[in-house]
Symmetry: C2
C-alpha cells in the first residue's frame, strides 16, 4: 500500500515529537508500505514568522503578500529537513521535498493559494529507492516560480492533494484528538467517535466548526476519492475514516451535532420590496469578501419587508457600514444587529431519505424552551440560530434526542 | 550604475536594523542607481537552525547534509522577505529572490557548495521595473534542483558572484568595521584603514585571519574583475576598495600584518629519508580534508630526517592518529606537537619588486628577542611561526617597523 501520513504543528512541535513522528513513519514502512509524510511547521513557528513580518510591515499591499509566503513557507521547510534527519537517525532512509521540488503548482493567490496540479514523479522515485518521502505541507509554487502558501490548515489540503496525485491507498491525518466525534466531547461527555463518515457530512461538520480537518482537504478528498483517516498521533487506535457515501450510512438519521458561535445577525427592517434591492445589499458585501451565511426574508407587507442575514462576527462592523452606504435611505434604527447568537446544526446523509428530522429537531429544542430565530436547511443539514447562551444546552439535548451516544 | 549591496547577519539582526538596510538601499537607488541587495540570515539564526538539526541527528552521514542545507537556507529566506517588506514600507518597491529563483547553480557539495553559474535575467527584469532586487545569500541549487549552501561566510561569495553575473559596477560589502586595516586595530591602535588593496593581497590577508571578507568571494572578484567595496553599515564613510592590482600599489612594500592563532605544529623526529615517505604521511591527511599549511624538512643525516608541519588546531588530534597509522614504525616519542604557536605574516604586492622585506622582518623580530620557529614565503607574503605568547608583540613591532601607520 501507499500511505500518506500528515502530522500537524503540535505533532512536530518539539525534537522529541519529531523523533516520535520518525518512529511512526518507520513502523508503517516496516509493515510493508510505501510512506509519504506531510508535515506542518513546528507549532508556534508560523505565528512567529508572520509576527516578525508584521513588525517590519504591518499592512503590506496585496502584491507584497508574495513576501509573506516567502517568509511563512520556511516553517515547513525546517520541519521536513528535521524529520528526514530524524528518520535517518532512527535507522531509516528519507528525503525531504519542498512544494517547489514536487511542483505543487497553485494559482498565484498568495497566502490563500489553491492547488492546481502536483507532479508525483520525484516522490515515486524516492519511494522506489525505499526512502520515506517527507514533503512540506502548506506550500506550493505558482507558474512563475513564486512560493505560495495555502492558508491556515493548508497542510491537510497538501496531504490529501498529494495522496490524490500519488493515488495513495490512504491519507492519514494525525491530530491531537482520536477522530471525528458526534459532537464536541467537551460539551457532551458521552459524545461518540464516528467510525466512518461521508465526505458530504464531514464537509458540513467541518464548515460548522469541527476543527479536525480543513474544509478544502475534504473537498479535495471527495473530488478525487481519497480515503482520509483522521487519527490520534498519541496512540494507534483506529480513528475516523472519511470516505465516499456508503449504503448503511443512510440508516443513520443524524451523524453529528455542532454549534458555531462566530457569527452575528443583521436585521434590516422595512427594506423596499422591489427588484434589485437584495443585489444592492449583498453585492458590496461579496466584493468585500464578507461571507453571508443564512438569509431570511419575511413576507412583504405594504411594499416593505424585513431582511435578516448572518455574517462572520468579525465582519459585523464593516457589514453595517457597507449596508448604510448601499441603502442610504434606511433609517438609523432600521438596522439591528445581534452578535449573541449561535448556529446549531444537525448533519447526516440519512436525512435525504428520511423525512421528519427537522420536525424532531424543532420539538427537542421547543421542549427545552429554546427559541429558534432563523432556520436554514440543506440536503443533509439543518441549522438553526438560537441565542448564544443556549448553544451548549441545544447541542446536548439534540445529541441525546437523536441518541448519538449509541453505536450507529 | 548597477550596485550590489551585501548586508551580513548583524546588519539584519533586528527589525530596526532591517529598516536601516531598507533606507540605505533606497538612498542608493535615489542617487539614480539600480540596486541589488544580498542578505544573510539574521544573526544567530543559522546557528539556531543547525543546533536544532544537531539535536535531531548529531552526526548525519554525508548524503544527509542535503537536509542540513534545506534547514539552514531558511534563515536567508526569511530575511529576503523581511527586507522586501521593509523596502515597501519605506516607500519603495522590491522583490525577493531565492537561490533557486535566480538559478544560482552550484555543484552538489552540500554545506560547502561552489557556484557554477547564475542566471541574472529575473533580477534584470525586476530592475527594469524599478524594483530593488533582494537576493538570498549563502544559498544555491544544484542541477537536480536540491538546495545547497555555500559554507560559512557564503553570502559574501553570493554577492560577488551575483555582481559578476550582472556585470555590476560595484559590489559593496557592508560590515561592522570601516574597512580593511593594516592590522587588527584591537592589537595596534594606530592601525590604518587601507583605501585600495589588490585582490592578491586581500586573499593573503583573508586567508591569514582578517575576517572581513570570505576568501572565495575575493577569488571570485579577482576572476571576474568585480570591484569590491568593504564598508561600514553604521556610517557612509568610504571603506576599502578591493580591486585589480594598480601600479602605485607596488610602491608599498607591506600592505598589512596579520596573526593567525588557530594552527598547531607537528614535528616528526627521525623520519626515514627515502622516496615516498612524505606521500605516506600527507596523503591520508589530505584524504581526511586536513589542510597542511607549512612544511619544513631538515637536511637529512644518516638516512633520517626531521619533518615539521602545521595543521588547523582543531585537526591536531586526528592528525597525530593518522600519522601513527601511516608510519607505524615511528616511536611514540618521535611525534611532538605544539599548539601554542601563532603564524605572523606580512603581505604586500610591493615585495615582488623589492628585495629585503624578509630580512627586515627577521631583524625586527630578532631585535625583540622573538624566536622564529618556521618560515614560509610566497610571492607577496612572508609568514613566520612564533610562540603564541609573542603574537601580539610581533604584530605591533612589524606594524611599526614597516611604518604602516603612515599613509601609503
Amino acid at each position: 500500500m501507499l500511505v500518506v501520513q500528515k502530522f500537524g504543528g503540535t505533532s512536530v512541535g518539539t525534537v522529541d515529537r519529531i523523533r516520535e513522528v520518525a518512529r511512526r513513519c518507520l513502523a508503517t514502512q516496516a509493515e510493508g508500505h510505501d510512506v509519504v509524510v506531510i508535515v506542518s511547521a513546528m507549532s508556534g513557528e508560523t505565528n512567529r514568522l508572520l509576527a516578525l513580518a508584521k513588525q517590519v510591515n504591518d499592512d503590506p499591499p496585496l502584491e507584497y503578500e508574495r513576501e509573506l509566503d516567502v517568509i511563512a513557507s520556511t516553517g515547513e521547510q525546517v520541519t521536513v529537513g528535521l524529520v528526514a534527519l530524524a528518520i535517518q537517525k532512527a535507522g531509516g532512509q528519507a528525503q525531504s521535498f519542498l512544494g517547489s521540488q514536487v511542483r505543487i503548482t497553485t494559482d498565484n493567490a498568495f497566502t490563500r493559494a489553491r492547488i492546481k496540479s502536483i507532479d508525483g514523479e520525484r516522490i515515486h522515485e524516492a519511494l522506489r529507492q525505499k526512502k520515506i518521502a517527507v514533503v512540506a505541507g502548506f506550500q506550493g509554487i505558482d507558474e512563475a516560480g513564486n512560493i505560495t502558501t495555502l492558508g491556515r490548515g493548508g497542510s491537510d489540503t497538501s496531504a490529501v492533494a498529494i495522496a490524490a496525485a500519488l493515488k495513495a491507498d490512504a491519507c492519514e491525518i494525525y491530530t491531537d484528538v482520536d477522530g471525528v466525534y458526534t459532537t464536541d466531547p467537551n460539551v457532551v461527555p458521552n459524545a461518540r467517535k464516528i467510525a466512518r463518515i461521508s465526505y458530504e457530512e464531514m464537509l458540513e461538520l467541518a464548515s460548522l466548526g469541527a476543527k479536525v480537518l480543513q474544509i478544502r482537504s475534504v473537498e479535495f478528498g471527495m473530488k478525487y476519492g481519497v480515503k482520509i483517516h483522521v487519527r490520534s498521533s498519541f496512540n494507534t487506535n483506529e480513528g475516523t475514516w472519511v470516505v465516499p457515501e456508503e449504503k448503511q450510512m443512510e440508516d443513520v438519521l443524524v451523524a453529528g451535532v455542532t454549534a458555531a458561535r462566530d457569527e452575528a445577525k443583521v436585521t434590516l427592517i422595512g427594506v423596499p420590496d422591489k427588484p434589485g434591492t437584495a443585489a444592492r445589499i449583498f453585492k458590496p458585501l461579496s466584493e468585500a469578501n464578507i461571507v453571508v451565511d443564512m438569509i431570511i426574508q419575511n413576507v412583504s407587507s405594504e411594499g416593505r419587508t424585513d431582511l435578516t442575514f448572518t455574517v462572520p462576527r468579525g465582519d459585523l462592523k464593516r457589514t453595517v457600514e457597507l449596508v448604510r452606504t448601499s441603502l442610504p435611505e434606511m433609517a438609523e434604527q432600521g438596522i439591528k444587529t445581534d452578535d449573541q447568537i449561535a448556529k446549531v446544526s444537525v448533519v447526516g446523509v440519512g436525512m435525504r431519505s428520511h423525512a421528519g428530522v427537522a420536525l424532531r429537531m424543532f420539538e427537542i429544542l421547543a421542549k427545552e424552551g429554546i427559541n429558534i430565530q432563523m432556520i436554514s436547511t440543506s440536503e443533509i443539514k439543518i441549522s438553526v440560530v438560537v441565542e448564544s447562551k443556549y448553544a451548549e444546552l441545544a447541542v446536548r439535548v439534540l445529541h441525546d434526542g437523536f441518541a448519538l451516544h449509541l453505536p450507529a
